[in-house]
């Protein structure tokens, strides 16, 4: 039988939330293991070339891709923190508290007293004709291909969705010398920050609101697309169909939290549209209904990298203190972090998120 490794806290996912959670756990002295299936830490950060804004504590002025190194510099000096890259968390068995990790050749079992799940989010699917044609990609896939592996996704891209991701990936495509033929947005207005949208307009990208993609054209690969105007309830207005020349249809119609580990852990789940889909119900300290499980970052509800780092730190502090580890002025730090989170969420798009978080939080804030 494979021998069983024992840790106090296992953190699944080394994106902004997982890195922040691991740092907080590491500082408390808890034996902590951070795992990620990618070969390097950072998660969504390694695809974010733009500069962060917000308070200095949230790395304002730093580009996303530089942030992992800042965390790693401190984590690598903590003897009680172990890091495993290229290790996929394949299962969490609530009955035994065992987390299984695999990298294609080895299968590792870890018994953790607490698990912090920070597995992020992924593109929402979109149903349109021929939506499975090669050339239809999620925005994350386009970013991975382009920013991580340095391969141009195509020559002419139709971007679907005007949230921050749709806007930012469009700009990254232009930076890489790829033409963004058009950006369609089914809603009547642009979803993301207008500063990003302005950059696209200056680059000559037509942004069509109240439009969506209805059909991908091409026999076996994308050769074009049919876009059409839609009314407020997103029904296509007959006769408004138009064909667009493109070899990539990039879907950026929103992210949905990756929560299969929470389902496996038997956590109470709830569908909260404002947070992107099903999320674990949690208390104010990010603890899920399964007392051994904490949630952090986008997997608890899709927000931004800066909020992910804060919820990660909250989860890390809470998980460590729940095991009796000493965290210097834990209460003061927690209340300041919650205030920072409230500040980020107070922005224009924050209203819906605040309502969503409230809906996903157990009433009274404690289990």
């Amino acid at each position: 039988m494979t021998q069983l490794r024992e840790v106090d806290i296992a953190v699944v996912g080394a994106g902004p939330a997982g890195l922040a959670a691991t740092l907080a756990c590491g500082e408390s002295g808890a034996a902590t293991l951070l795992v990620d299936y990618m070969d390097a830490p950072g998660g969504q950060l390694i695809k974010q070339t733009h500069k962060f804004f917000g308070s200095e504590r949230q790395f304002a002025g730093t580009r996303g891709i530089q942030i992992p190194a800042i965390f790693m510099e401190r984590l690598s000096k903590m003897p009680n923190v172990a890091l495993m890259w290229g290790a996929n968390a394949s299962g969490y068995y609530a009955d035994s508290g065992v987390l299984t990790l695999e990298d294609g050749s080895k299968f590792v079992k870890v018994k953790a007293k607490r698990v912090i799940i920070a597995t992020g989010a992924a593109e929402k699917p979109l149903a349109f004709e021929n939506n499975d044609l090669p050339g239809v990609y999620g925005a994350g896939a386009v970013q991975t291909l382009m920013n991580v592996h340095g391969v141009k996704p195509g020559d002419r891209v139709l971007m679907v969705g005007s949230g921050n991701i749709g806007l930012i990936v469009s700009y990254q495509l232009i930076q890489a010398g790829v033409e963004v033929v058009a950006l369609v947005e089914a809603a009547g207005c642009i979803g993301g920050y207008l500063v990003h949208a302005a950059k696209l307009r200056r680059a000559g990208v037509p942004i069509l609101t109240s439009h969506t993609v209805v059909r991908a054209l091409g026999e076996e690969t994308v050769r074009g697309a049919v876009v059409a105007q839609v009314d407020q309830s997103w029904q296509v207005i007959p006769g408004s169909e138009r064909e667009v020349a493109c070899d990539v249809i990039c879907l950026a119609v929103g992210l949905t939290p990756l929560v299969d580990m929470m389902w496996q852990a038997g956590c109470e789940m709830k569908y909260v549209p404002a947070l992107g889909g099903h999320v674990p119900v949690r208390d104010e300290n990010m603890r899920a209904s399964n007392p051994a499980v904490y949630v952090a970052g986008d997997s608890g509800g899709v927000e931004e990298a800066s909020s992910a780092m804060i919820s990660g730190e909250i989860a890390g502090i809470s998980a460590a203190t729940s095991l009796g580890f000493e965290v210097k002025e834990a209460d003061a730090r927690l209340s300041r972090l919650k205030a920072d989170l409230a500040a980020i969420r107070s922005g224009p798009t924050g209203e819906k998120i605040c309502a969503g978080i409230k809906c996903a939080t157990v009433c009274g804030g404690e289990w």
Partner: protein
């Protein structure tokens, strides 16, 4: 719930309950209400490996299994079901790894042949002709019956449910039985969380929960839940026909028509209970047994693992028939892992018993009273 009374109330929407309801309606008893707590086939029927075999060690089990296969062979037409229940007779290959086991196999084969079930005995080398990548180290011999096979458990259960509905059976899903009213040994009604149904007859097909249901009628029925875990791999083009079973390793594995492999092992010391979570011990044990017995199949990826409940009885044999002291309280449970394969014939037998009081195949020895009388039925050919 459109009716508040029924001639018969069937409790449990698995393959057994749906088969019983259909066969009752076939015999003109159409005022039947079937109650299912969740959805049809959401219990063990939708979680089992769905093998269908005739290779058993007692006469009664062989006869029941043989008659069930006869029905499976024409089920799509019998139940007028499209697309198909996907019954495929690709055989069962039963492996013996000790002389003692081999002697038992030979006795079984003699019994099976006497009941005209066509079973062959094979040397390990002959077994290799059927499954070329089988590891025959330590194998003494094998038995093979081509007529045994596999069906799609979901389609089979849905086929019976849809056919029963067509004949007038009312199927209430998302409805839980909360009580059974009994007065002076006679059933008055079945009470559910969505209303009361007056009836004089209940057929208890609640699988692992049959003991709970019987208790509602004041009956002490020794049936309990026992977790059995299972996994499925990614699909590949067909390379293995039969179900491969080794009692010695408590192991079974089959490539189903979809191309994926379904497999399971018994877990020693599994406690009584209703826990159907998966465990990593099962995953490891399964992977090791598979690597030993069918090495190339270990090059496949597991896509999903889950668990279901055997409805265990003390002698791992079915409990069929009326259950004194309560009149017209019929049991069809306790199958201990063979409910799916026997369901077609159990449906017929229970419908006969309910409508006529006797059945074409005598199942008196499988009554619930046998435990009190100490007349347990011992069946050697069972996976752990």
């Amino acid at each position: 719930m459109s009716r508040n009374s029924a001639d018969v109330v069937v409790i449990g929407g698995g393959v057994v309950g749906c088969a019983v309801a259909f066969e009752l309606a076939q015999r003109g008893c159409t005022n039947v209400t079937l109650i299912e707590r969740d959805t049809v086939a959401s219990g063990s029927s939708g979680r089992c490996g769905a093998g269908v075999r005739q290779q058993f060690g007692t006469e009664l089990n062989c006869v029941l299994a043989r008659e069930a296969v006869r029905i499976f062979e024409r089920m799509d037409e019998y139940l007028d079901y499209k697309p198909s229940v996907e019954f495929r007779q690709s055989g069962y290959l039963m492996l013996a790894f000790s002389d003692h086991q081999w002697e038992q196999f030979l006795a079984n084969v003699a019994l099976e042949r006497s009941l005209d079930i066509d079973v062959k005995t094979l040397t390990p080398e002959e077994a290799l002709k059927i499954v070329p990548f089988l590891n025959i180290d330590g194998m003494v011999g094998a038995t093979f019956c081509q007529e045994d096979g596999h069906a799609n458990p979901f389609h089979t259960t849905f086929a019976y449910a849809r056919a029963a509905r067509r004949l007038g059976v009312e199927i209430l899903t998302h409805t839980e039985v909360t009580g059974i009213e009994v007065e002076k040994g006679r059933i008055r009604a079945v009470v559910t969380d969505r209303g009361r149904i007056a009836t004089s007859t209940v057929v208890n097909c609640a699988g692992a929960y049959s003991g709970h249901v019987a208790a509602m009628a004041g009956i002490d029925l020794p049936v309990w839940g026992e977790r059995h875990q299972i996994l499925i791999t990614e699909p590949v083009e067909p390379i293995m026909g039969p179900m491969v079973i080794s009692f010695h390793h408590d192991f079974y594995c089959q490539q189903v028509p979809h191309g994926s492999f379904i497999m399971g092992i018994g877990m020693p010391g599994e406690p009584k209970g209703y826990n159907i979570h998966s465990s990593v011990d099962f995953l490891e044990g399964m992977a090791r047994s598979l690597r030993q017995l069918l090495p190339p199949v270990a090059q496949l990826r597991v896509v999903r693992q889950w668990a279901g409940l055997y409805d265990r009885s003390p002698d791992a044999q079915p409990i069929l028939g009326e259950c004194p002291p309560v009149e017209r309280f019929f049991n069809a449970n306790g199958f201990s892992g063979h409910g799916f394969m026997l369901a077609p014939i159990v449906g017929v037998i229970m419908a006969e018993l309910v409508t006529t009081g006797s059945s074409s195949i005598d199942v008196n020895r499988l009554d619930a009273g046998r435990f009190a009388r100490g007349e347990l039925v011992l069946e050697p050919a069972v996976v752990g």
